[in-house]
């Protein structure tokens, strides 16, 4: 049972500042706030990863010259933070009713020194691992939207992690369905 939790808030499509508006599509902005301290370079790079993943699924061309802001606040971090942020982002997009081409989910794999693959590692397991791979997987044919690696691994190991992540994605999408069902049937 995970203790990593992220609160996501989505605003928009709203009026964009003239300096930020794009003439043919919506401008998506992601803000990631850590639990303590000011956002640093790590948060900035994660924001860009999230932004590019979201831009791949959001149909921005339906809302030109608007701004969509996604704010993520980290409530607690016990490992696998980036995939938790990805899941929170997707649920926020879904709940806000934004037009999407597909849903996505985040899965983290930790590759241990002896070669075993651990899904959704805890902070301790992340530290002991040889490599940590995070994938964003789309709901349509389980295609890969985003892949990021920390550490070193071989190509075969990456393929194995990817296959495992794709299988795990099914469980997460089922969770999305159940949550939405519960929310809209009082």
């Amino acid at each position: 049972p995970g203790e990593t939790s992220v609160l996501a808030g989505l605003y928009g499509p709203a009026e964009a500042k003239v300096s930020k508006e794009l003439p043919d599509r919506a401008a998506l902005e992601v803000l990631l706030r850590p639990k303590v301290g000011l956002p640093g370079v790590l948060e900035r790079s994660r924001e860009q990863l999230l932004r590019q993943t979201c831009e791949a699924v959001v149909l921005g061309v339906l809302h030109p010259r608007t701004a969509i802001s996604l704010v993520l606040q980290v409530l607690s971090d016990a490992g696998s933070l980036l995939s938790c942020c990805l899941n929170a982002a997707c649920m926020a997009l879904l709940d806000a009713g934004l037009p999407l081409t597909a849903l996505f989910c985040g899965v983290t794999c930790a590759l241990q020194p002896d070669g075993t693959i651990l899904l959704d590692p805890t902070a301790r397991q992340e530290q002991e691992a040889r490599a940590i791979l995070t994938f964003a997987i789309a709901s349509s044919e389980r295609k890969v939207l985003m892949a990021t690696t920390k550490g070193s691994c071989s190509v075969e190991e990456m393929q194995q992690c990817l296959a495992t992540a794709q299988r795990a994605a099914t469980t997460i999408f089922q969770f999305y369905r159940d949550s939405v069902r519960r929310r809209y049937s009082k």
């Binding site: 928009g12 499509p13 709203a14 009026e15 339906l62 809302h63 030109p64 010259r65 608007t66 806000a96 009713g97 009082k186």
Partner: protein
């Protein structure tokens, strides 16, 4: 969120007066514009009495994703047909777009049943906004609560609630 569509009737809130044009908040991604000449019987000399914060019921003549939405309060023949500034008092509240469509369906039982309870005035905007005015503030609030709850109540629960109220 509401996306403006040409021909939709909506309730807008006046946020600014910019020369000959009013800016209205319609709940979309940008404010809509409404010309002061787009009212019944309005001329350059005879301007409508619109203040910031007023409620206006109008329809969209221009509403696409690339341009700022434009509204008018007259129909194609120049008559107002119920559109224009919404009067004093009353209560404006927001509901989901799904409930609006249910209420605007041809044979909506909710409104028929409510009208047997108390007499009231009702304006429904496709942007999720409803304006209600009944004789007393209490009656107005009761109607507001029932409309908001209609989203989740089944027909039986609604009939029970109304029966309890009319019994009181």
């Amino acid at each position: 969120q509401y996306v403006p569509v040409k021909g939709d009737h909506v309730i807008g809130i006046v946020t600014a007066k910019a020369g000959d044009v009013f800016r209205l908040d319609v709940g979309g991604s940008e404010p809509a514009s409404l010309s002061y000449l787009a009212f019944e019987g309005a001329t350059k000399r005879n301007r409508p009495n619109v203040q910031v914060g007023d409620l206006i019921y109008g329809q969209f003549v221009v509403a696409n994703k690339d341009m700022e939405p434009e509204m008018v309060c007259i129909d194609s023949s120049g008559k107002s047909s119920g559109m224009g500034i919404i009067g004093q008092d009353g209560f404006l509240f927001k509901v989901s777009l799904g409930l609006i469509r249910k209420l605007l369906a041809p044979k909506c039982e909710i409104i028929q049943e409510l009208s047997q309870l108390y007499p009231f005035e009702l304006v429904i905007g496709m942007n999720g906004r409803i304006w209600v005015k009944a004789k007393t503030v209490q009656q107005t609030l009761i109607i507001v609560n029932i409309l908001e709850a209609c989203e989740y109540m089944t027909a039986e629960q609604r009939k029970q609630a109304l029966a309890k109220l009319s019994g009181n």
